[in-house]
């Protein structure tokens, strides 16, 4: 039980970390929101499952927290995205025209300045 809880906590930490990395690496606001919202939501979910395994007597409260996170976190990111959209910001485009079309998985250096982190 302890081990399983640790695994879930680790998964949560890993996804939160990926979310942070996504915020750094993504090229524009929309994609940053995407990386942030998804990774952090699943990260929080894994944290809560881990906590529920460590402290089984809290499961009901943790379930409530989970429900509220699942309901509110997408709403807030959609709201931010809507505000950006209404203020007229267009989504980022790949720098060369052929990068956005023909080669879906080609190792196209999207942002040469950043490269590998």
């Amino acid at each position: 039980m302890r081990l399983l809880a640790d695994v879930f906590l680790l998964i949560g930490a890993a996804f939160a970390c990926l979310g942070a990395l996504g915020l750094v690496r993504m090229p524009d606001v929309y994609t940053r929101i995407q990386a942030g919202t998804k990774a952090v939501t699943l990260g929080a979910l894994a944290f809560l499952i881990g906590a529920a395994l460590l402290f089984p007597q809290w499961w009901a409260k943790l379930l409530c927290i989970l429900g509220f996170i699942l309901f509110t976190s997408p709403v807030s990111s959609s709201t931010i995205a809507r505000a950006i959209h209404l203020s007229g910001i267009k989504p980022w485009r790949a720098p060369t025209p052929e990068a956005s079309g023909q080669a879906p998985m080609s190792p196209q250096a999207a942002k040469p300045a950043e490269g590998r982190r």
Partner: protein, 174 residues
């Protein structure tokens, strides 16, 4: 939100539904099933429903049929699968050195009429692979798609992004 979807007045069933949900929430927070707690839960549920009254119009999209819980369960299953898939997908994109992105804004059509249903659909879109709901105008949801195939039109985007969720949501929301 500026879409004017006129939610009709809630029925008696919806009031009962609200009381039950609030009572359940109380019991979850209280964490015990003692008689006193049950009574308190019901009292709080009725009190809050009475105060909220006609403003519960948001609930009127809930379909009160015996099959609804089954649809809700199937929706949750689809949703969690999609959530995990979304995260693995995002992790792959973030970690790959070349950042494989083809972002674009596309529109998606929805047949859900209630505002609660649309909100749930938009939430689902936001938490699933590579898509983020940006705006709702009438029956169109504007979606930011990280990996948009070239030449995507309304029908194809709808089929790819929202159809699976919408099918399940329609089972328990209008």
């Amino acid at each position: 939100m500026d879409d004017i979807s006129a939610d009709p007045r809630p029925s008696i069933g919806h009031y009962l539904f609200s009381v039950l949900v609030l009572a359940l929430l109380w019991l979850l927070l209280a964490g015990s099933l003692a008689t006193a707690e049950l009574i308190a839960a019901l009292a709080v549920g009725i009190l809050v429903t009475a105060i909220a009254g006609p403003r519960l119009a948001v609930l009127s999209g809930v379909r009160l049929s015996p099959l609804a819980p089954w649809h809700l369960l199937r929706y949750l299953l689809t949703f969690f699968t999609a959530l995990v898939a979304a995260n693995l997908d995002m992790a792959r994109r973030v970690l790959s050195p070349s950042l494989p992105l083809r972002p674009a804004l596309v529109e998606v059509r929805t047949r859900l009429r209630s505002s609660l249903g649309r909100m749930l659909l938009a939430n689902s879109i936001t938490l699933t692979p590579g898509t983020l709901a940006v705006d709702i105008r009438g029956d169109r949801i504007l979606v930011h798609w990280v990996d948009c195939p070239p030449g995507t039109d309304l029908d194809r985007a709808t089929a790819a992004i929202s159809d699976a969720f919408e099918r399940h949501i329609r089972g328990f929301l209008e």
